[in-house]
Symmetry: C2
Subunit: 256 residues, 2 copies
């Protein structure tokens, strides 16, 4: 897959992902994959422990070559974010610093607004064990803290990148929360539904199921209720009518 | 860290995470870690390729022992979800099946509503290469599809678990999107802010900065504007007054 193809459908204008002193090439690769999953391609590495390019990043990147091959290396965080308009630091809520604290969602909504105004953003991620240095946090516009189980709060770099990338992608995504995958069919209309009920109830009357007569209205209502609340598709109504027809057909053999 | 400590603060009633035919122990471990990050502890494995317990899962779980040690193994998906009230299948949007399709957010909001009503949920995740079989998808109540870059859409199991766990956690989390970490201080009040402005402008007048007089009102307004929009804390106003005092003190040595 060529780089242009990988980013063809990507949401553009996304934040730069700045990994400060990453240690494991595998984590850089996994972060690259997570970035491209959500249309981010601008990876910046500040003082990676090992040489770059690092072949250990290649396999975990899972063919996110456009990110790996485009990653740039810097000696200082300040160099890595020099031209960016907005810089965010992913870290735990600071205890000794006056600083706005954003959720990933609020931060990425801000980044999206900035992008719409032609302004660029970057997100700092600290090193595996120790996170970001306070000096890097201090010059960031705000802290991004992922809400997490306080009794088990450590997220690795690639996981944090994934969550920020996901929230970035959602700000530009119009997928409805709830859809129905319906292929070529459409929801059944009322006439089709009533046609099925007539068919079914006729066969149930014939079989003596809707008996005694004084209970028939309640039984019919209960049965109709079951099938009404499925939200049946037109194709499914035809399937159900086929089932009823099949079940009522005289059997070729058997004992019923 | 004991299991009870790890889950002490966890959000309870979360969905079971059901990994169907997972292949790599490492992925199971990483998924376990992601689960506990978001307070989920009920892991179920259907036909894992390798024996279980699997020591390869231990290190990537990063001490999420309560999840790893509590994981249960099943021969069939149906067995793994037998007692659950609601079953969701994470997969791409189905092309040949009539099925509700939910975003992770909508699905976890539903799971939270179910939990509030005392009903249990589970989420199926397919195997590394091939995902879930259609038979497992067919008996699920709905599909959960993660919105993702269509040109680079493959998420690994642990990443998918992380995103669903994250969305689950958010449904029970009341962290405001935007906060200010302020420690023991509080926002400055208007009087404190005006006191700083008086102090600063007096020194700037003395130093001849606010000149010529006809431009003074505009210059004062511009300066006040800078400091007004910071949203200064009381402690920061005192810091700024200290800075002004220091800068205007006669120097002990030097040439200015």
């Amino acid at each position: 897959m060529a780089g242009t193809d990988q980013t063809k459908d990507a949401v553009s204008g996304g934040p730069a992902i700045v990994l400060v002193e990453p240690q494991m090439g595998e984590n850089i690769g996994t972060a690259a994959r997570a970035m491209l999953n959500f249309g981010l391609t601008d990876m910046r590495l500040v003082r990676p422990r090992d040489a770059w390019p690092n072949e250990k990043a290649r396999a975990p990147a899972s063919h996110a070559d456009v990110v790996i091959d485009g990653a740039r290396v810097y000696r200082q965080t300040a160099d890595a974010v020099a031209e960016l308009n907005h810089v965010y630091a992913t870290t735990a809520r600071p205890r000794d610093m006056l600083k706005p604290v954003l959720t990933p969602r609020a931060a990425m909504e801000a980044a999206r607004r900035h992008a719409a105004a032609g302004e660029t953003s970057g997100i700092l991620f600290g090193r595996e064990k120790s996170g970001l240095h306070n000096d890097d946090v201090a010059v960031s516009e705000a802290v991004v803290a992922v809400p997490v189980n306080p009794a088990f709060a450590s997220l690795n770099i690639a996981q944090a990148v994934l969550l920020l990338g996901y929230e970035w992608f959602l700000t530009g995504d119009d997928t409805p929360g709830h859809e129905f995958a319906s292929g070529t069919t459409r929801p059944a209309n009322h006439e089709e539904l009533m046609g099925f009920f007539d068919h079914l109830e006729q066969e149930l009357d014939a079989g003596g199921f809707l008996y005694p007569p004084e209970k028939r209205p309640t039984m019919v209502r209960n049965i109709r209720n079951i099938f009404s609340r499925i939200g049946l598709m037109e194709q499914e109504v035809r399937t159900l009518r086929g089932i009823v027809s099949t079940l009522t057909k005289p059997r070729k053999r058997g004992d019923s």
